[in-house]
Symmetry: C2
DNA sequence: AAGATAAGTGAGCGTTCGCTCTTTTATGGA
DNA sequence: TCCATAAAAGAGCGAACGCTCACTTATCTT
């Protein structure tokens, strides 16, 4: 039998992300994607059941990738400060290396597909981060807080910084540029907030 | 001449938000909206130039409303802590009173329409908040930080809390519920981070 | 009461959409 | 070498899309 062309799959993946970031979920069409990737519409339906399935699978793949990168060299047994530094560094690195995927994931987080896609990912994820949270509490390196409050203070500022960086300069004349320096600065504020 | 039925405009506004929150920007159609609002498609084009213009205007109206509510009783000459409390209280109140609009605005913030719509709003907004930021710095009630870093730490956690509240319980078995208590708790962490 | 005017309608236009059918092409195993 | 098989293509289906036109309806002014 004829062998599957994996380049084609990757091209579809890449173009789909590109198109959704540029034109949004509306404005994203299967025929358009086929043309952009230089394949027949029918080919896309070999890999994906339908439009919905395509969006889901692409989102799942991108998110999985980001999660893996975020968790590199991370161990929930680490000290609170050490663990936070690793996570922030990893996320920032991923964002700088894969800006398109980052923007795509952020878009999808606010789409109606979020719940289904992220549910299974977060099962494993929350287990690890839950352990990390638990350990930090036990060692009294972290204030006693509900997990969601902890999370909101610990990571939301980083994502907002990334958003500032990504978006056009609507907030002033000179655009904000994400840097290791301002990341470190923000992280130190967050640690100050969360440590007893 | 026949008088304009303002109820009809408001109904279109309300149904559009409902539909976009439920089905996303894809899945939102003019014909569908017309049916949902019980008007003719042609009627919609009396008020709006085209689909894009409709999305823009609805987003603009919703965001304007949120901004007004956020700024109620706020004065950039307030002390830093007082100002932060007012802003957090106002935003939380708006969110609890208008959960649909809140979800809609958050969705739109991550759509491709964001830049155009929010640009003009943020001009006034950033002026006021810039003054507030500036005053707090002068009075040494706030650490010396770039505006974006300040903003990320000051408000992103609140929006993340709201997102936790809104979304389904993917993060665990028991769903997080936003409350005045956890808002106060989170705000106190944020103030701790930002004060010298 | 009647005319002027803008609000509002319903049918339907051309186009694009998601998707499939039939056919062709490439490759592994016999 | 050639057959079996799955990949891939291209044309095009019905449905839904954004949008418009010819027309009716309600309300103001006089």
């Amino acid at each position: 039998m004829r062998t599957r062309d994996e380049n084609k799959v990757d091209l579809i993946y890449q173009k789909a992300i590109e198109m959704i970031v540029k034109e949004g979920l509306d404005g994203f069409g299967v025929n358009k994607l086929a043309k952009a990737a230089g394949v027949s519409p029918a080919t896309i339906y070999i890999y994906y059941k339908d439009r919905e399935d395509l969006i889901m699978q692409v989102t799942l793949r991108a998110t999985n990738h980001m999660m893996e990168e975020s968790m590199r060299d991370f161990d929930p047994e680490m000290s609170f400060e050490e663990g936070m530094k690793v996570q922030w560094r990893n996320r920032a690195k991923y964002f700088l290396e894969y800006p398109l995927e980052t923007e795509f994931i952020e878009k999808m987080r606010y789409s109606r597909h979020y719940d289904k896609v992220f549910e299974q990912l977060h099962k494993i994820f929350k287990e690890t981060m839950g352990r990390f949270h638990h350990n930090a509490l036990n060692r009294k390196e972290l204030l006693k807080l509900p997990f969601e409050v902890f999370w909101s203070v610990a990571f939301a500022p980083l994502y907002q910084l990334i958003k500032f960086h990504t978006q056009e300069g609507s907030w002033g004349h000179k655009k904000y540029t994400f840097s290791d320096e301002s990341m470190q600065q923000t992280l130190s504020l967050v640690l100050k907030a969360l440590k007893p």
